[in-house]
């Protein structure tokens, strides 16, 4: 499979190949999960993708990737979403890989890239801290140069799926005197290094999706540094555009929308004008989102970089998704607060899982408030 030039295929041909593959090979039980999937559940799918040469659609071919151009990349992602493919702990593919290819040394690339693709190494992102959330540049975890090593002390938090990861990519402070963004470095750290403690945090949905990670005199070699010393902010910021496009995909809320319509039919609510007014407003909010998303997809396909205006996509997508799950729970009335999937006049509905799943979407990846600040400053050019 690795010899195929996917970009030379017609879009529809490529789409059908991806669709057929996912349809045949992706486990039914993992489709449209209203929560993050654990590595133990999705390891087999990772292996399937890896063996097929499809685990790294964005990577160049020399590193075992599919080398998809932006247009084909969008199709690949759309077909994954169409089948409700859960997002594995794929930050090694989406983040670490591209960062290493841009800023890594040859030794780093040779060691980490093949192992990241195979799933031998699974990455988690050590960015946020108790006092560095939206104000990420305020991070305080300290890495002090000591001979050929860094010695790390501090704490990371909201580290998604850290307990499934073998390695953590970290932003640490290496210069306390410099201005906030200037004294930060980017490190690749083995999670089994002595002094690291990972503690899962239970979220309001009852899942252990994110963790606290403590660093107590953790000694790692100097060659874990990616990019220059104190240049970590630049390294980390290089990739945010495409992530914001992906996060605004109109397919993400489809599961909840289908459930709500199913529920409405089961309860005979499509004859209730009050309900229909609210339902259709949200349905249209999502269809209009698809138009906005399509516009950015076209931009990416033309090879143009995404500007700050793409923040509007994330805000609208996430807030519409929340409104949808709000209405799902409200429409359930007392049934809406019963946990787990249960039968409503023949329809199998889980009310709370989609509701909880949508909650953090306006917080992670830059909160809605931060996105509004970005639009205000860079797009409307309002004064500060």
């Amino acid at each position: 499979m690795a010899d195929i030039d996917y970009n030379a295929l017609a879009d529809d041909d490529f789409r059908m190949r991806v669709r057929a593959f996912v349809e045949a090979r992706y486990p039914q039980a993992l489709r449209f999960l209203p929560r993050r999937v654990r590595m133990s559940e999705i390891r087999e799918w990772w292996n399937t993708l890896y063996e097929h040469g499809w685990v790294a659609p964005n990577w160049p071919r020399e590193w075992g990737g599919m080398a998809l151009d932006p247009g084909k990349m969008v199709i690949y992602l759309e077909e994954m979403e169409r089948h409700g493919v859960a997002r594995a702990a794929d930050q090694g593919i989406t983040q670490v890989g591209p960062i290493l290819m841009k800023y890594g040394t040859d030794a780093q690339k040779d060691y980490f890239l093949p192992r990241t693709a195979s799933g031998e190494i699974i990455w988690s992102q050590g960015y946020s801290e108790p006092n560095a959330g939206s104000d990420l540049a305020n991070l305080q975890t300290l890495a002090v140069v000591d001979g050929d090593d860094f010695v790390i002390n501090g704490q990371k938090i909201w580290t998604t799926l850290a307990h499934d990861s073998t390695h953590i990519y970290l932003l640490v402070r290496t210069d306390r005197e410099a201005k906030k963004q200037k004294g930060i470095s980017f490190l690749l750290v083995d999670a089994t290094t002595p002094g690291i403690t990972i503690r899962p945090i239970r979220n309001i949905a009852g899942h252990d999706e994110f963790c606290e990670v403590f660093f107590d005199n953790v000694r790692v070699p100097r060659d874990t540094l990616v990019g220059g010393l104190n240049e970590g902010w630049t390294v980390a910021k290089a990739l945010l555009g495409f992530e914001r496009l992906n996060i605004g995909s109109p397919r993400r809320p489809q599961y909840a929308l289908m459930r709500l319509e199913m529920l409405a039919r089961a309860k005979g609510l499509l004859d209730d004008a009050g309900f229909v007014d609210r339902f259709i407003a949200i349905k249209l909010d999502l269809e209009d989102l698809a138009s906005l998303y399509g516009r950015y997809v076209e931009q990416v396909k033309r090879g143009e970089p995404l500007g700050h205006d793409v923040s509007s996509l994330k805000i609208w997508a996430m807030e519409a998704w929340q409104r949808l799950t709000d209405l799902l729970v409200e429409t359930g009335a007392e049934d809406g607060v019963i946990e787990g999937a249960h039968d409503i006049n023949g329809a199998e509905i889980d009310f709370l899982a989609p509701f909880y799943y949508a909650r953090p979407s306006t917080i992670y990846g830059g909160s809605s408030e931060i996105q509004r600040n970005i639009l205000s400053k860079y797009v409307l050019e309002l004064p500060s």
Partner: protein, 374 residues
């Protein structure tokens, strides 16, 4: 992708708006019985705008809604009182979609040339979205039909020379041309928020001669329905122009108005408010682009209705919200008649209500979408 026509049109619209379409002119014309400037209308005809979507065979340019929308957006930005959407798109569209070839050859070139102005007199009840409610009667006689009934909410009525009237006969709907000064035709004008008027057209045994009948039965119903949906799309484009200018004004004001020693645009409460308006404008823009492209591809009737309703709902809501909040962002000055923000709100209110407001269009969309999926 922007077509060559579109690029040229954009330049020509920007140039024309920039040269003479001042808000001072809008203020001077508001409330006058003539409502708009015939000289400007003739200039628009010379530029080819009045015939953009009229087929070339009938003296137009034969372009699509995507190009028509460029003109409408420009006129919206300038708050032009000229009844472009009502006459050059809605009424002309109803005639162009009819099947009386001789009538089309006689009338459409004159409409495209700006010599004749027709308005569509179809509606009788507020909130009606289609011709099903029409009660006005078309009673046949040997020379054509006698028309009786009352047509309301006729946009562009004030300056029209003729009306495209829809009435019901035993053969179904009848669409035909009635002259303004014909016997049995009387017009009353009701002032509306934006300084223009809705016409109420009373038909008392008014004669519709056979050669002036545009279409009858299914053909008339389809011509009316498609003209209404196409005009909704162009009204959406006009609303987009209105909201875009109102948003620019608000953001500019936030950068210059100083209180507490700082520009008010530095306050986060206002920044986030402005950003939410920007998101609405972006959504409207994306929906408009997608919808115009889809309508120009010639969809079947239910699809066309769904597209037009989605577009009209979003553009109406976005424009009313942006222009309403423009008043708030400007503070007391925004509430004065002297300041332009109020003019933008009023035009948005009128265009949002005309041809169906957002709630009605969402309901029509719901009926179509939920039926299709059942």
């Amino acid at each position: 992708m922007v077509s060559e026509h579109a690029a040229l049109l954009k330049d020509s619209v920007a140039d024309f708006i920039g040269r003479g379409m001042t808000i001072g002119r809008v203020r001077a014309l508001r409330g006058t019985p003539g409502e708009y400037d015939r000289a400007v209308w003739r200039q628009m005809a010379e530029l080819g705008w009045l015939g953009i979507s009229i087929p070339e065979a009938y003296g137009g340019m034969g372009l699509g809604l995507a190009e028509t929308a460029i003109v409408a957006e420009g006129l919206g930005r300038a708050l032009a009182p000229e009844p472009y959407t009502a006459c050059a798109v809605l009424a002309a569209g109803a005639i162009a979609a009819s099947d009386n070839e001789a009538l089309k050859r006689a009338l459409l070139p004159a409409i495209a040339g700006g010599e004749r102005i027709a308005a569509l007199a179809w509606q009788e009840e507020a909130g009606a979205l289609d011709g099903n409610h029409i009660a006005a009667r078309a009673t046949p006689f040997e020379g054509g039909y006698r028309l009786n009934g009352t047509k309301r909410y006729v946009s562009g009525a004030a300056g029209a020379d003729a009306y495209v009237v829809a009435a019901r006969s035993d053969e179904g709907l009848v669409l035909g041309i009635v002259e303004r000064d014909a016997p049995g035709v009387s017009l009353e004008l009701a002032a509306i928020a934006d300084g223009r008027h809705f016409g109420t057209l009373a038909l008392d045994d008014a004669l519709l001669p056979r050669e002036k009948v545009a279409a009858v039965g299914e053909a008339a119903a389809e011509a009316l329905a498609s003209a209404l949906d196409r005009a909704r799309a162009i009204a959406g484009a006009e609303l987009y122009g209105v909201m875009s200018r109102a948003l620019e004004m608000s953001v500019d004001y936030m950068k210059t108005r100083v209180q507490f020693g700082k520009p008010i645009g530095s306050f986060q409460a206002l920044q986030h408010r402005a950003v939410d308006l920007y998101i609405q404008q972006q959504l409207a823009s994306a929906v408009l682009d997608d919808s115009l492209r889809a309508l120009d591809a010639g969809p079947d009737a239910p699809t066309r209705e769904a597209i037009a309703s989605r577009l009209k709902a979003r553009c109406s809501d976005a424009a009313v919200r942006i222009t309403r909040e423009a008043i708030q962002i400007h503070g007391a000055i925004g509430f004065t008649d002297e300041y332009d923000a109020g003019l933008y709100l009023k035009r948005a209110l009128v265009l949002a209500a005309w041809l169906g407001n957002s709630t009605q269009h969402r309901r029509r969309y719901a009926a179509l979408a939920l039926k299709a999926e059942a």
